[in-house]
Amino acid sequence: MDWLTEARWSPYIVGAGIGVLSWLTFLLIDKPIGCSTAFARTSGMIEKLLRGKKQPDRPYFREFPPVIDWEWMLVLGLLIGAFLSSKLSGTFNISMEHAVWTGAFGRALLPRLVVTLIGGTAMGFGARWAGGCTSGHGISGAMQWALSSWIAAICFFVGGIVTAWFMFGILAGGA
């Protein structure tokens, strides 16, 4: 069982595995894999928790009620699966340092944290605006050859590549 403790697998094996996993979700739960709706539902749960009965009736949460659903369990499973994999391969590491980031912007924690908060907010907003994320559009939607998903996935990468080039090529002075 050495393969379970290996730090990295071939991206083609991993991709093929995710493809087969998609067959199973279509077959067994009649759903394409996706992740970002779970965050929208959770944000609704948090608002409900904070406001109680004063929670405004938001049309969005009528469409996506703030409850634990299959996708929420999928994201929870994802977290546990990555934990198991990292523990098995001995790469589990509580840290927020990443070579690409520190190489360009240094080791200070606050700037990294502020940028992740801004980035996370943009991502949450953008994912719900586009109606999906890298999993829902980029993998599940693309394999169904949905027009919305191919356009969204291409725009994810165009936006990401331009932003990364600006951050690391211009702001950080040619990383």
Binding site: W9, P11, D30, G81, T116, T121, A127, I139, C155
Partner: protein, 185 residues
Amino acid sequence: MLERLHSSRPAQLGISLACGLVFGFLLHKGGATDYDVILGQLLLRDFTVLKIMLSAVVVGSLGIHAMRSIGLVTLHPKPGSLGSSALGGLVFGFGFATLGYCPGTVAGAVGSGALDALLGGVPGILLGSWLFAVAFPSMRRSIMRKGDFGTKTLPEVLGVNPWAVVLPGCLLIAALLWLLDRAGH
């Protein structure tokens, strides 16, 4: 039997948890839960993320369309418009590069110990999704309607049998992956 499975909530939640577990295990083993790997992709230095996604699309596409042809599964293409898929997609892309994770891989990064994913990524995505829920009623009436194309799939747009897109599409992706590999990425 499948319909009974689809309508049982406990079964759905349990199967989803198990599928999520495998999904997270695979994403971590592939390196996709690592900030450096994702930024490496966006900086076009390391094509791991694209290789994972595109091979998932090829294998997934062949399987679900085969099962669909024999009536085992139903497709669920998402609706979209230029004003939502393209503009929302670009905003997502900005978040992709600044955060360095996506909504799935951020959970995997938390599981493998990344504190920036836990302290910045998850709260940020929650805040952003909530802000969208607040903005949704007015955006739905205006910008999200621009260039609407509904839940159309590429075979529907072209008016052809799905396989006339699936087979050449998968071949094209496989060729792209082969070229990437040959170019030394």
